[in-house]
Amino acid sequence: MAERGGESRGQVPGWAFVLLSLAGVVFALTLVPRVASGEVLRVAIPWLPSFGVQFSFFVDGLSLLFALLITGIGVFIGLYARAYMHGHAQTGAFFCYLIFFQASMLGLVLADNIITLFVFWELTTVSSFLLIGFDHASEKARRNAWQALLVTGAGGLALLAGLLLLAQAGGSMELSELMTAESGVQEHPLYLGILVLILLGAFTKSAQVPFHFWLPNAMAAPTPVSAYLHSATMVKAGIYLLARVHPSLSGTPEWIWTLTIFGAVTAVWASIVAMRQTDLKLALAYTTVMALGTLTMFLGSEAHIAITAAMTFLVVHCLYKSALFMVIGIIDHETGTREVDRLGGLFRAMPITAVAAAAAAFSMAGFPPFLGFIGKELKYEGALAVASEPLLVAGAAIAANALMVGLAAVVAIRPFYGAPRTYDRTPHRPPFGMWIGPVFMALLGLTFGVGPEYVGNLLINPAANAVAGIQKDVKFALWHGVNIPLMMSILTVALGVAVFIFSDTLRRWLASALGHLLTGDEAYDGVKGAILKLADVQTAILQNGSLRRYLFVVFAVTAAGVGGTLIAEGGMAWPALWPDVPIYEWAIVVLIAAGAVVPMAARSRLAGICGLGTVGSGVALIFLIYGAPDVAKTQLLVEVLFVVMISVVFLKLPRFAETTHPPKRGRLGDLTLAAISGGVMTLMTLAVLDTPLNDHLTKYFEANSVPGGQGGNIVNVILVDFRALDTFGEIVVVAVAALGAFGLIKLRSTRAGGS
């Protein structure tokens, strides 16, 4: 029974994920005709209406394209992961994280309100953290999860600031309004700040150089996660954001050049580094960075054709990249290695996988009749149409694509053909759930390539129109005749074949040439190390473990702050030298003063603490005289309990003089500080007394206590009704402090008992 329980544990969440994804696909598909005809669907639930924050969503061409990719790929990732994670002890948690991620990602691409968008943005970061660190016994996985969280989380903070500024400049918190209205954000004085902050968010999330290093490290996650989050969906969130703000922010030289340069550098650099990798999964991870760079580069342009190229490439990339990741996962699963040098001859063992890999690789390399070919032709057409520097964009695109062709050949050919190798386990055909995904994705790439009109008109054109902000439909066709893009394609393929032939030489050469460069990863370690060191130094100075030091700092800062303000603001007031007060009040004053002297002279703690108790009781008496019986009563009780508690503690401490008695010079300093603190407090009290009392609140409470709070005791009505939230906060603090102190006391006695 127990074993069967273990077997079936991951079943329910696994199927739940698949079925939820499937339901999402079906629902999204039903929306396609309406959205393709230009309709924008909306729903809004008030959240914090006073701040203009709504829980609002809308569906246009761009959102729908992303939603379909997220749910559609989710179905096959779900099937794949069920087989991949089979037998793992925490399959249930794994699928729960996946569902969590998928919901967050859908929320992100459908969000209308910027706060809604931001919340879902952060949730994708959190779920990504959980999934990268899923193998939490591995230190590497934990470190890489942290890294992804810190990098994308820091970008998220920048994004929040940028979005808030954008809302301020554009006069709305709804993205749909910010996009359509001629919002004038580009002329706004805050434009540059908005741009920088939003780009920081997008670039960290979508792994642009120099923030790209977290993405290859995120490959510590199980392969289904790499295929889903870190190639097809989550890393596209930054691209989605760039596309989303395109109508209101693009077109300025700042936008064009930043996106073009960062995108081009990312694309070329990532494809060079990808060539260097021997681990196929890592190589694919770098090609994802390359794809993200390409998308950024094209979104830098205003030209409609460039945007269409970006949207087409987005679809192409999702299809082939998730397929190839799943293929690498299969190879890893069946042979136990992903090192290209150790793979070969697997075709016999897994022909279906090999064919799917080949089909996906063809699409990646941009061969006809696959959708990748159309994507590439559009890219070249778009590159020639960009406003910034067509040669730069086209050159970067050709260079990156040529390396892609070479790498696609490596991934599709090297593991499957050539001499069979010996592996740790005998490779055989993967289960159905694992190969159906790559096969379906590859088939989709082929179908869309042969008949591109449907996907073009129903999905890509509406998305591109939403990004460009104008209606202009590009005609999708496989064959455009002999033109410049075709020539560029031929050049790309020729270069790519050369890259493949010399791939081993190239890899060795790159390894030696790039070996000594400072990587982003090392920079991350350096920055993190420096922050931790700073924290160490600061803690050693401020929190050295000596209570005396803490108190000294607290009192010194208070005295300096309050005293300084008093002097600067000129709030000093001098009372009459001998105020006219009854004799018994003088008696209390003397009592308090005497109580204060006792601890200074006392040779035992008990005497000292009793002296302090006298001070408190004296203060309670004064409260009583001045008409605050509630406060007086509480003060008295607190004093009693304080003395009892402290006495209990003191019974256990070492003898007084041995430890706590500070050296003479230290005592002099303490005395000075005590005198100054007391003096400042006295001056402040005098200053307060000198200010005419504003009885606005007093009158309000007097008038409203009985009618509003049904109570005659104003203090209590304030505590439990008018300002009940404050009281609530206080009792929670009391409860937490008690539990914390309890833990410390028990911890100490356990340790003492253990030793």
Binding site: V648, N713, V720, D721, A724, A738, I745
Partner: protein, 133 residues
């Protein structure tokens, strides 16, 4: 502490103190008193019990772990605050009912929560310290 006089006197005094603490709690809304001060009086009572009869005896007397009392107090305060939600009013808005002319309101329930938190927190600390000694 093992003193016959103390434990004998304590028995009577503790009962009075707990009674007095409840009295303070209930009358607090109109006259000096309230959950906080009432809680302190009750805590002092249990403290006296612990000093007179030892911590194990006090734990037996309480029956419930004082940490649980603290958390129950927080929960009571939250519930008192949530009652307002049924009227569509914000968290912690006072809601009153007058069954037979007796004013009963969520502020009183909230004060009970405060009382429990104070009793629980102080007793938790003191008993832990005493045990550790």
């Amino acid at each position: 502490m093992n003193s016959l006089i103390l434990s004998t006197v304590a028995r009577a005094v503790i009962a009075l103190m707990v009674l007095f603490s409840l009295y303070l709690l209930i009358r607090g809304h109109n006259l000096p008193g309230g959950g906080f001060v009432g809680g302190l009086v009750a805590a002092s009572a249990f403290l006296l019990h612990a000093i007179a009869n030892g911590v194990p005896a006090t734990r037996r007397l309480l029956r419930v772990d004082p940490r649980a009392i603290t958390m129950i107090g927080v929960a009571v305060a939250i519930i008192a605050g949530l009652v307002a939600a049924f009227q569509g009013a914000p968290f912690l808005t006072g809601v009153w009912a007058f069954p037979g002319g007796v004013p009963l309101g969520t502020p009183l329930l909230f004060d009970v929560g405060v009382y429990l938190v104070v009793v629980g927190a102080v007793v938790t600390l003191v008993l832990a310290l005493e045990e550790d000694a």
